[in-house]
């Protein structure tokens, strides 16, 4: 077997496995959220379908597939169909640069546990993350509904305010590692300490900005139920709605993975040097913990108001993030970390 073919095959298989994990994992993220929310809210949560309600996501999926797809009469059909795809695809491809572990030996080959290791991984993350907002804007605009349109407009404004802070909060890890590549950022953390220790402020800003990025409470302006009914998804039903839903939950997992990689050492953990297979487990646990944190926040906090959210983004987060870049740079030069 020639080397190129093997390389392509390996790459395709890794990609397929990742997508399969994400698409099934998404369903169980919803299950996890519903059960965990219920626990917080002194309820039981779904426990009827299958043992512990484990088949509930399957039942939901089947229900959504068989639902009638309703399209508003005055909707702009092309954009209306394109929008769910544009939200869903970036959420999946963003995971490509996240390393799941170090190299393992399989079938006599040394295989890196990452779909790819771009040397500009962080830039890739940022650019892909901003694409998905187009899906929301298109959905809001094309469905010819006032609530949806307002949701779309809100998401644009929110994205602009938080993308900057997010980008700036990635700078300290980049400076500390001296590289834009995700694997080198992890190596940097393995050789010193997790960057949340060196740049706690950046980690906090990053987490808040990521919450805003995925439109999770308390930043869920875009689909604020109490105000905009369902925001940009108001007119969507059936599988098209499910795609938005999928996009949202996969993105939740994706941003958790990004945060874990940038600040919590990615797949790093005790014993990972000798047993490379521990890497994915550690990363999974970190993602799981971050998801739990997001759900906890959703269950606890009321929603911020739209204008205060903007003010918070521009007047608080961006200055802090900017300041943090300078402090980190000064420390690196001064102390030679």
């Amino acid at each position: 077997m020639n080397e190129t073919l093997a390389f392509i095959l390996e790459w395709v298989i890794k990609g397929a496995v990742l997508i399969a994990i994400l698409l099934t994992g998404f369903a169980y993220t919803t299950y996890f959220e519903r059960r965990f929310l219920a626990r917080i809210q002194i309820r039981v949560g779904p426990n009827r379908a299958g043992p512990f309600g484990l088949l509930q996501p399957v039942a939901d999926g089947i229900k959504l597939i068989f639902k009638e797809e309703v399209e508003p009469a005055e909707a702009y059909r092309f954009a209306f169909l394109l929008a769910p795809v544009m939200t869903m695809v970036p959420a999946v491809v963003i995971m490509a640069v996240i390393p799941w572990g170090d190299k393992v030996v399989m079938f006599g080959r040394e295989i890196a546990l990452a779909v790819t290791d771009l040397n500009v991984g962080v830039l890739y993350l940022l650019s892909i993350a901003s694409i998905s907002v187009y899906g929301i804007v298109l959905a809001g605009w094309s469905s010819n509904n006032k609530y949806a349109m307002m949701g779309g407009i809100r998401s644009t404004a929110q994205m602009i305010s938080y993308e900057l802070a997010l980008g700036l909060s990635f700078v300290p890890p980049i400076l500390l590692a001296g590289s834009l590549s995700m694997s080198e950022i992890i190596q940097g953390q393995q050789s010193s300490a997790w960057y949340i220790v060196y740049a706690p402020l950046a980690a906090i800003v990053c987490f808040i900005a990521l919450l805003a990025e995925v439109n999770r409470a308390p930043f869920d302006m875009v689909e604020a139920e109490q105000e905009l009914v369902a925001g940009y998804v108001t007119e969507y039903s059936g599988m098209k709605f499910a795609l938005f839903f999928m996009g949202e939950y996969i993105k939740m997992a994706a941003v958790s993975a990004i945060f874990a990689t940038m600040f919590l050492g990615g797949f790093d953990g005790p014993g990972v040097d000798t047993y490379a297979w521990l890497g994915p487990i550690y990363l999974f646990l970190k993602i799981f913990g971050l998801l739990g944190l997001m759900i906890w926040i959703r269950a606890t906090l009321p929603r911020l108001r739209y204008d205060r959210l903007m003010a918070f983004g521009w007047k608080v987060l961006i200055p802090i993030a900017l300041l943090n870049v300078f402090i980190t740079a000064a420390l690196i030069v001064g102390l030679g970390i």
């Binding site: 929310l37 917080i40 809210q41 002194i42 309820r43 006032k146 609530y147 307002m150 409470a217 308390p218 869920d220 604020a224 139920e225 109490q226 105000e227 905009l228 009914v229 959703r298 269950a299 606890t300 906090l301 009321p302 929603r303 911020l304 108001r305 739209y306 204008d307 205060r308």
Partner: protein, 581 residues
Amino acid sequence: MTEELVVTLSALETRFPDVVKKDERKGYEGFLVDTKNLVEVATVIRDELGYDYLSSVTGVDYLEEELLEVVYHFYRSTGGKSLVLSVQVPRKKAVVPSLYDLFISADFQEREAWDLYGIKFEGHPDLRRILMWEGFEGFPMRKDYQEAFFVEDQKPFANRWPEGKVFRSEDENQFGKNVQYPKGFDKPKKWDPEEEDLLYAGLQELGKKDSGDLATDHVVVNMGPQHPSTHGVFRMAVVLDGERIVALKPVMGYLHRNHEKIGERNTYLHNIPFTDRLDYLSSMVNNHGYVLAVEKLLGKKGAVPERAEYIRVIMSELTRVSNHLWAIGFLLNDLGAFFTPSLYAIEERELILDIFEATTGARMMNNYFRFGGVARDFPPGVLEKLNSIVFERLPRKVDELDVYLTDNEVVASRTKGVGVLSPEEAIAHGVGGPVLRASGVPYDVRRADPYSIYDRFDFDVAVRYHGDCYDRYIIRIDEIRQSLRILQQALKDIPEGPVLLKNPYNIRVPEGESYGRVEAPKGELGFYIVSDGTANPYRYHVRAPSFVNLTALEKMCVGQLVADAVVVLGSIDIVLGEVDR
């Protein structure tokens, strides 16, 4: 007649000789005023006599005398008894000057009287139908109006049980016999109710005033009737400039069932379970208001035993606690907290409902009060459970809610300074209950015009002074604490004895009018009843607190953001069952 009213009467008679007359009909306590002098008299009443709170405006149809009457109930916002004015106009030409300019609280109530009685209020800026649908023909509360399945004027209908067999009137009376259509309705494609256009035209007019030099377009958004946070089928037609509200009109009546007409067909006792369905979250307070109005007319026959009075107070206060818990929980939901606070509040409410279930047999539709008492005594064991809840669990849980919510940064930033209503505006808009008291007016019917045995208990009237949503939230916590104080005293003092001396199934109420009002959890709940001495009320009117409180919604929302409108609505705490009636 009380001393206070005698003074008022002499003051009015000296000011307006021959214009204001004492109502001489049997059982009536008010004054008759000439139509053309109404505004003048009302001005004097408000500015010189201090009756600044117009509680209720309603119509009565005296078919035999060929008269339509408008009845006004005025109160002083400092407390005291009512002043009742009546205006009589001929049925053929029912035109009355509007009091909108003096008392904004007349806004919806005059619209309701127009809608149901066809009394035209001259000078009302927006006299449209409010409860009936836009194209409705006729005025349903008039005594000569007959609904589609009309059988008889008064229950019990003779034809319902012919020879002991079940019979439904729909089977005999096919739909259509009594239905009246508006002009042009037989060509439905062309037919276009003009009321809806009037609504939008009025909104555009309101929106215009606000636009500056820069030409921008406003968006009209209909929030509701199907909207997650309107607490039912309620609609706010909103004109938006960006996300800022420049004009807002509430639209209601989607749940309208003409409760009052049903009430006039029913016998007096029939009506008690119907009042449960008004504000279905606090049904026993509704019972209380209605029974109180009828007992006033009954006089000695309606005397209530001591133990029953205590049970009434206990039930009313428990209802208030459960209602406020619900209101706080769902206000937090409107703020976007995903059900956690509301579920914690509902957990406590469930315990109260358990007590209701044990005592009355139902958790929500209690149907528990009777004329001259309550239906049955507490079953064994309930008082002990009640004691443990009232003395131990609830005070602790209220403190817990207070600790978690009151100092929450997000709650404060979302509600402080939002939807401000000044004390003067609050009185002029006729709002009641927590909304009024949060604006700095310490007016509580339990203290201002004590009914039942509320004058025996030691409690404070909760009051807050900013008039914003935050105060309207926190005053509910204060009120729960005060209710618990009353409950603790009542539970200590409750005497033994009967709870109902005689259960009169078919009661004949002496002639006259009466207005029974109670401090419902949502505001002042009034029942206006006119009896003609038969087994059925001649006029049965509900002054629903949610309905009148909504008058101030527009005032509170204009200039705020969309997100705030939802919070303001949540802080008023409406229940559509009594708004639409």
